[in-house]
């Protein structure tokens, strides 16, 4: 293990995993409290279209991915706000369409040498310092945004109508939160991939909700659970030669079941 830690690729993976744990753990609290698990799935899957567009246009898939995910998130919110579509129906339609678009984009780009599998399931051990810096920039921005708007986000999660009446800019914050989710989803794809990324936005918060009774403690436990399972997942995957993203998600799920068991014992 110590030889592994001395290697550059593993150091980069650990740095990236810790940063991503921080933002996924923090955002996950609000995703769970606002019951936005499914929209997380929608945003992450629609990123596939954006990433493939990046290959087609030969630009950094990070930017096309973020643009695409933000756009789809906005469309889902717009459809909901107009009241024409139920939110889950809108999500179901938009993410399937984006993924289909992604498949067509990949076909048109004829770049069969790109690591599609890595985008779908994550390949954290392959990232370079450039990606680590991207993750760092996004992490700083997201954490700053959560710190500045923390009390409004809590209010919004608790009672949106009341927040509106109190003069909180509810609509702007709803869109803002979706942008945060889209940004986090895109950088977290490096770690666990498009298919599994929503796990990082749901499980840490759900796990923490089982063990805590106050939102600050919940956020701390959520970040801790994400970081713990990322580090343990990297170690386990290195020792057993398992895929790292899937190992991390499995450990998180295991942690969730453990927390449910503890909660059941504590609260009867």
């Amino acid at each position: 293990m110590s030889e592994l830690l001395a290697m550059g690729f593993f150091q980069r993976a650990v740095a990236a995993a810790l940063l991503l744990s921080l933002i996924c753990g923090a955002l996950s609290v609000f995703v769970v409290l606002r019951r936005m698990a499914f929209i997380g799935v929608g945003i992450s899957h629609s990123a596939f279209g954006g990433v493939a567009l990046g290959f087609l246009l030969k630009v950094n898939p990070l930017w096309t991915g973020i643009a695409f995910s933000v756009l789809v998130a906005m469309l889902i919110e717009l459809a909901r706000a107009r009241g024409r579509l139920e939110e889950d129906t809108a999500i179901g339609i938009f993410f399937a369409a984006s993924m289909a678009l992604g498949v067509v984009f990949l076909h048109l780009s004829r770049t069969y040498n790109v690591d599609v599998f890595g985008f779908l399931f994550g390949n954290i051990l392959a990232i370079g310092w450039r990606q680590v810096v991207e993750i760092l920039v996004v992490s700083v921005a997201v954490l700053a945004a959560i710190a500045v708007f923390f009390k409004e986000l809590v209010f919004l999660s608790f009672d949106e109508e009341m927040a509106w009446v109190s003069g909180v800019p509810v609509t702007a914050l709803r869109y803002f939160f979706l942008v945060l989710m889209a940004m986090v989803v895109i950088v977290a794809i490096y770690l666990v991939g498009i298919i599994l990324v929503s796990a990082l936005l749901v499980i840490p918060g759900a796990l923490a909700g089982n063990l805590t009774r106050h939102i600050r403690a919940m956020a701390a436990v959520s970040v801790g659970a994400a970081a713990g399972s990322c580090l343990a997942g990297l170690a386990v995957s290195a020792v057993l030669d398992w895929p790292s993203g899937a190992t991390i998600v499995l450990l998180l799920a295991l942690g969730f079941f453990g927390s449910s068991f503890l909660r059941g014992r504590r609260f009867g």
């Binding site: 409290l33 500045v148 708007f149 009390k151 409004e152 809590v154 209010f155 999660s157 608790f158 009672d159 109508e161 009341m162 927040a163 509106w164 009446v165 109190s166 003069g167 909180v168 800019p169 909700g209 805590t212 009774r213 106050h214 939102i215 403690a217 919940m218």
Partner: protein, 257 residues
């Protein structure tokens, strides 16, 4: 003449082309304790939401303290609100104090934390409702009656001039209901508030409030000199009344819908 807290003229609200509120005119004077009565589906909550600015009327004008309510919400919350089901998530991880402080958020503004003054106001309102000892408890662990008091303390922490309560007694025991109306009466006097309380609990409301507004699905409400219930009913053909305390006995006749 006293100022008007609420002035509604020719108000129509449609949902999917079906009128939920129809041709409503209503004046509520500042400083009154007003009960809005009506059967389920009468549009009581809709009327409140129009007054709060949450619903935009299809037609007509609503003024709260002379202002459009949608503008009013930015002007430092003149309306305190108790929603019908304030706790959407039964185990939401915040303390009672956190909830009451939410009433201050509109005044505190974006990106700033509650200061000492906000805590003082929150504490004073918890004390006023007799639940200061619960301040550090998680909101989800309180009984229904205790939670209701927390949400009233939150509404009061907005330092409103108008307090709007949507079915505040719906989940309470009969004794707790009377107690709540009495508490509200005391607070109204002490803080010089206009209070609007929605209920379908005819008996309890009429004992405690100054005025009764009866609302029935498609409604015509007229503030009026006491031309009498029967005259109003025969004129408008529905069971809408505006009864003045002392001038007409507090008896409410509800016609079948």
């Amino acid at each position: 003449m006293k100022t008007l807290a609420i002035r509604i003229r020719d108000l129509w609200v449609n949902f999917n082309h079906t009128p939920a509120l129809e041709d409503i005119d209503l004046d509520i004077q500042e400083g009154r304790y007003v009960g809005i009565l009506g059967p389920n589906g009468a549009g009581k909550s809709t009327l409140l939401k129009v007054i709060l600015g949450l619903i935009t009327p299809s037609r007509g004008e609503v003024l709260v303290f002379g202002e459009n309510p949608r503008k009013l919400r930015h002007a430092g919350s003149l309306i305190g609100y108790l929603p019908q089901r304030p706790l959407s998530h039964p185990r939401f991880p915040v303390s009672v104090m956190d909830v009451v402080l939410m009433g201050r958020y509109g005044r505190i503004g974006l990106g700033r934390r509650p200061g000492r003054e906000d805590y003082e106001i929150a504490k004073a309102n918890l004390a006023r409702l007799g639940i200061l000892h619960l301040a550090d408890r998680p909101i989800g662990e309180l009984s229904g009656g205790e939670q209701q008091r927390v949400f009233i303390a939150r509404a009061l922490s907005m330092e409103p001039r108008l307090l709007v309560l949507d079915e505040p007694t719906i989940f309470l025991e009969p004794c707790a209901k009377d107690e709540l109306y009495e508490i509200m009466h005391g607070i109204k006097e002490e803080m010089n508030l206009t209070v609007l309380i929605v209920s379908h609990d005819v008996g309890a409301v009429v004992q405690h409030v100054d005025d009764v507004v009866c609302l029935n699905r498609r409604v015509v409400v007229h503030e009026a000199p006491p031309i009498g219930r029967l005259a109003l009913e025969s004129t408008f053909g529905c069971s809408v009344e505006y009864l003045f305390h002392g001038e007409i006995p507090h008896r409410v006749v509800r016609r079948d819908v």
